[in-house]
Subunit: 423 residues, 2 copies
Amino acid sequence: MIRFTNARLLKHSENGFTVQNGVLETEGGVITVSGEIPSENTPERTIDLKGKGLIIPGFKNAHTHSAMTFLRSYADDMPLDKWLTEQVFPMEARLDGEYIRKFARLAFLEYLRNGITACFDMYVEPDSMAKAAEETGMRLVMCGTVNDFKDSPELLEDFYLRFNGHSELVSYKLGFHAEYTTSEKILEGIAKLSQKYSAPVFTHCSETEKEVSECIGRHGLTPPAYFEKLGLLEHGGGFFHSVHVTDDDLEIMKKHNVYAVINPSSNAKLASGIAPVSRLLRTVRCGIGTDGPASNNALDMFREMYLAAVLPKLDEKDASAGSAEDILYAAVSGGGEVMGLGGLSLEAGMSADIAVIDLDSPNMLPENNIPKNLVYSGNPSNIIMTMINGKILYENGVYTLPGISSEEIISQAKAAADKIFCR
Amino acid sequence: MIRFTNARLLKHSENGFTVQNGVLETEGGVITVSGEIPSENTPERTIDLKGKGLIIPGFKNAHTHSAMTFLRSYADDMPLDKWLTEQVFPMEARLDGEYIRKFARLAFLEYLRNGITACFDMYVEPDSMAKAAEETGMRLVMCGTVNDFKDSPELLEDFYLRFNGHSELVSYKLGFHAEYTTSEKILEGIAKLSQKYSAPVFTHCSETEKEVSECIGRHGLTPPAYFEKLGLLEHGGGFFHSVHVTDDDLEIMKKHNVYAVINPSSNAKLASGIAPVSRLLRTVRCGIGTDGPASNNALDMFREMYLAAVLPKLDEKDASAGSAEDILYAAVSGGGEVMGLGGLSLEAGMSADIAVIDLDSPNMLPENNIPKNLVYSGNPSNIIMTMINGKILYENGVYTLPGISSEEIISQAKAAADKIFCR
């Protein structure tokens, strides 16, 4: 059992966030005490946070392509089409499972450094991704990425069955890449799987204007309306990006309990647009994701929260648009709901997936409003500890991973990048 | 003499940035060696950067109101007018020199943590600000903020004479708050001072649409054209914000060697708009600033660089808009030119104002492009050391300030904030 004393606890209720002084205990992957009174048990370790350490539910990165770390800063400041076809696709074609494992582990180090305790990862080679999660202790929810060029509904079903229940850390959700890369026949196959397993379906949706207008051209429907027609939304799911969604699209999402996953940095850097964050927060349930490091390029939920909070102000020309508290909720809890992890708050019985913030960092002072400090002035340097499933994996600059050292991850990722780029 | 060995040195030439392996030595506030061969002198301290530490010229925060830390997260998500008149002004009225010294020191801690080695600070009570700089070792260039309610051209002249040559760390520039807060009579007085001392003049300019349209209403001219007419630009200067500048305004700025200082976070959060960064970078010389922590709320040049690079992509709907290298130059060197510090590059003879970046941080890998990694994925956690005027003031989480401890700064700032807010 680990006991945190003199802690500040970020708690959430219907009335919003509060910060409570108290104690938190974890045992066997679960929070066992979260309140004022410690248990009578003897802890293996006591961590005195001295009134300065704020425990938060870890950030949930609700949309990413972790293994794309190798493409970070490889091709920036380029138009989206050229970037994808001339830079990303040819380089991705060189990947195999071993590369993916090495590059994903590099992303996982960054998640742990940044207080991110779970990621919803859409990529190929799930066996390699699962290995990377086990080696690092990362909580990984994988999302199918079936499309006309890769995988199939049959393979998706195989992955779905194989990786749910695979381990405490790994699970799998039905998903496909996007409308513009996936034939109707495949989509119908995925809809059948969704119905067979009563399972939600996830996909990139309405990321760019071009995608929406081409979908309307092909099917006479926006992507959400088209997915609804195909029966893909019967058991809920989530739309990554949700930038160019109409009010009718939002009604479809609301009706089917489909989450919006906002990716503000990626949408800004690729000039895709600004998601209607205020409307999304009012209408549907939301998570926040970094997207992959090829398009973002940082795996930093502080940056995403900040952008999710300020871009609507620019977009609506109204400094009161957006709500820092709603965005913080989406970042620490909403994303967990998206991934089907549920219950990731600071209450006894919940998973011990937490991050600790140093409230004595200059940028966290004074304490006029702690949730707003997190959203508007927080950054990864404020994270002093990250725990997943009850295990401390990062603490004050030092990683303690179950199956590999951070030094090995870094040297292997460097060597793999040099090899893939023939350097 | 301090010697950095096995360093990576970020150098800049007409062809852009390069990263050179080598050695850097500093002595008495100045870089004495920057290249491949160390001197024959014996160092007081040798710091082996093991090929992983990138030395950069420290960030220059080219527009800020440091002492406004006390208002961080005090009033967010509000319309600009209401924010200023109902929240900021009444609280600022409670300040005195002692408060300002305490709150500015808190900002200086944040600058040092974040690799910022100089700030161009527009605020009142320059004696207190200068004291704060001396206590912390911060390089401070103050900017006059004369307006109808505070200070005068006479007082400005007094400050100008008194604080230039005041110390190695402190200097002072002519400046006024803004067109909309300053009478023509005062502006004429400042123009006379500018001519008397051949001194550049700095001011908030074209921050909001309202400001520009009201200036046109009053004077039939945009703010830059009005300032030109009054003779305020004869010796150059700089415009903070420069969001709503016309092509004619840019010609005026270019003609008079007036810098644009971009403040993307503040302009986003207050819904003021997106500065025409691509046009600014093409036409005039630029620096980048955080603005004050009441409006931003972080004093983080990584965030500013990122926003300066991606917001033009959204604004122009073109993912190739903006240039990461130009923005990095503005952040590390352009701002130094704005403040009249000059020569702040990594060359022998230049001031030893540097920051060290840990290139083995996961978000800095792989090394596909180091300047782009700094702009697109860097954050304050990557800063492992900050040196100003040859003195190491921050290193791996520990501050070594000349006149006060970081703990005292934090406890005094907390107590002062509690007092001012009657908590």
